[in-house]
Symmetry: C2
Subunit: 434 residues, 2 copies
């Protein structure tokens, strides 16, 4: 049997299910940490497993350039190379060709581009993308599609979506069916309901083992993203997995699950972990902030990761100030664990028929943390600059994925040590959002 998804319960449109793959079963909703170039950054495979993660993502674009798809194949595939015996999903490479590669040239047949690593010339077609993902031994293979920037006109969105649907049929043709492996189609069409519906019709006519919603979290904002999900996920086959690509913040994840999404991936927990931003039950905290220098309390008392059970906020602060690698290592671990716990709580709540209660309880924790941070500012007004960057509610990813500091945007105060997400520069390839 190919890879498939079974449902255990629904609560409103939220779903609790199981993804059955060649490398084991995965409870859904699931968040997949991103293992860009054959490693979840700053984590050993054992550490990733210890977070409770059951499935990870690999990036076709990065891996085809380095170490090379054929080489990964010779080394026995991605699972063996990276020591991950659970399922792996790979993207098609399309998103990163658009965001990272140089001198892209698109045609009806595929895209030719130069590597951001060494300038070498490469070509990606629907067939080659599927072949690469086969060499990587991905449990879930994604169709190659054309990703357009936001905003796009309806005409441009329609053209790209229709070409992506032609490519999806070619991907289906090229994909070699194997026990426990599957191919997912990607719904495109921008923010235009008619185009999204047309895309779903085209994909379901071809038939896939799962359906992804693509082209979101590209700057449209959380509200528009949710509106697009509202009109798209009800059209997807209920007996197949629904995957929202490259999303997002904890708030985005709750909203996605509420709208019938089963699978998520995002670089947020890993990238934030490297830049001192911690996701907690009391909101986001920037561990570089001076207020943590003598804070002997636990980062998040609700968390059971090593950063929380073994160390203090003061130590984490010290590690980031001293630019020690252990800071990113511990905080990445924590953030991935936070995302896994979030999914575990939502799944248990769906099974118990109390999804909205649980979502409200989680959101109330973020609100309370924000209120505490605000109160601290009020009590010690002179210390406002030092305190900015404390606990604040989790902003929507989609709104401004690359600019979100954690200082309260309404306060006008930005702490000098607040670290925004880094902007890619030179040869340093950022992780993908998809």
């Amino acid at each position: 049997m190919t890879l498939h998804h079974t449902l255990q319960a629904t609560d409103g449109r939220a779903r609790a299910g199981t993804l059955h793959t060649a490398h084991g079963e995965v409870p859904t909703p699931v968040f997949m940490p991103v293992g860009t170039a054959g490693t979840v950054k700053a984590m050993t495979a054992d550490a990733v497993r210890a977070t409770g993660a059951r499935m990870i993502l690999g990036n076709t674009y990065h891996l085809m350039l380095r170490p090379g798809a054929e080489r990964v194949g010779r080394l026995g595939g991605l699972h063996r190379m990276v020591d991950w015996d659970g399922p792996i999903l790979t993207d098609s490479g399309g998103f990163q060709v658009m965001s990272l590669a140089k001198l892209r040239k698109m045609d009806r047949d595929g895209v030719t581009f130069r590597s951001h690593v060494d300038g070498s010339k490469h070509r990606l077609t629907p067939e080659r993308s599927i072949e690469i993902q086969h060499l990587l031994d991905a449990d879930v293979t994604m169709c190659l599609d054309e990703c357009i920037p936001f905003p796009a006109t309806e005409e441009e969105a329609a053209r790209a979506m229709r070409m992506s649907m032609l490519w999806a049929a070619r991907c289906r043709e090229a994909f070699v069916p194997r026990e426990g492996y599957g191919l997912f189609g990607i719904v495109q069409g921008g923010v235009f309901p008619e185009l999204r519906a047309e895309s779903v019709r085209a994909l379901t006519e071809i038939g896939f083992e799962g359906y992804a919603v693509g082209g979101l979290a590209v700057g449209e904002g959380q509200e528009i993203m949710f509106q697009t999900l509202d009109i798209t996920t009800p059209l997807l086959p209920a007996d197949k997995a629904h995957y929202l690509m490259g999303v997002g913040t904890p708030s985005d994840l709750i909203g996605g699950v509420r709208r019938g999404i089963d699978m998520f991936d995002c670089v947020m927990p890993t990238r934030s972990g490297r830049t001192a931003r911690a996701y907690t039950s009391r909101g986001v905290m920037n561990m570089r902030n001076a207020r943590f220098a003598d804070d002997a309390t636990t980062l998040d008392p609700e968390c059971n990761c090593p950063a929380c059970t073994r160390h203090t906020r003061a130590y984490l602060h010290h590690l980031f100030r001293a630019e020690e690698m252990l800071g990113p290592m511990l905080l990445t671990w924590h953030n991935i664990r936070y995302y896994q716990r979030l999914m575990e709580r939502l799944r248990a709540a769906i099974l118990a028929g109390r999804f909205e209660d649980e979502a409200a309880r989680i959101e109330a924790g973020w609100e309370a943390g924000a209120a505490e941070a605000a109160a601290l500012k009020t009590v010690v007004p002179g210390a406002a600059a030092a305190l900015a960057g404390g606990a604040t509610p989790l902003p929507g990813n989609a709104a401004a994925p690359l600019a979100a500091g954690d200082a309260d945007p309404t306060s006008g105060v930005v702490a000098a040590d607040t670290v925004p997400f880094p902007v890619p520069a030179g040869n340093e390839a950022p992780e993908s959002n998809a």
Copy 2:
């Protein structure tokens, strides 16, 4: 009872013993990984434990500047802050003040200097160094001494040694005796036998829980280092631990154990791990070398660390080429494990009365690895540049601690991807050698 050392066996001058501390017992000879600023770089405390390491080192200089000794004290001491429940040795800060701090001014009473981190002014006296190490909660406290550059005249070595002996008496006075804690004196006197003997007499008259040999591995070369040990360690009290500070390569460690040393520390395994250099049973390998790109074999078949049991040389090569943090993480783990296995093997051999056999067996492995690498070069002469940087014998640390690439120095060929030890630059503080 204060910290003390008991002997289980001797073999020639090599000793197998146990160091009894407030935080547990440590089999000796022991290699202590260096946890410079409150973290063994690129390792969680759990990972350090998993290597078999039983005791680590912290640097007074780094910790007094950041996060600050009083702060570490408020956080419950170094063990609690860094999650290390085994014993910790701290150095006195003197070595790094000499090698890292700015605008040093020495007087008979201590040294005044500016921080390399932020330029702030600090003062270190024998009493303050002891107080800081008390705040850090070090099981083994080291006396503050004056470290002189190599080469030094006999007059300069004598002057510095005699001042260090006066300081040692003040350190003894300032040290607060506690159950399982101890203070070590440091033998100075450069390469001058009479001065070393005078230093030992001065220290034993004061009386310490252990004795360190200082002022070595500063550029004098392995031969002179061993000669100095030959005339120094026989003078040390046999019932106390002997500690060779800041040493060294695996070859240095074998030579040190052979000469009656019980304790070692060095940044080599950690620093080398971050720069792609692996210590193995077949010599040193630079994992960035192109010859490893498709090498599906195990880094070191004799090793049981995650890098060796879970991954291939090709994957390690990929991680360093892609500049992924996991490369330094895995190779640091491997190198520390290599050093721990080396100590375990030597200790077992001493207990069995076959130390020299075991030392010869280990060195034969390095030689065989070097011969294999050389043979590869002969068979494929055109690939010499790509092959340089493969397995070569382990050079003596003391000879050239900052310049040792792993290319065969006699071949004249240095691979473009050979990474020499980094030279400290700007604000980036190197780890200490002591």
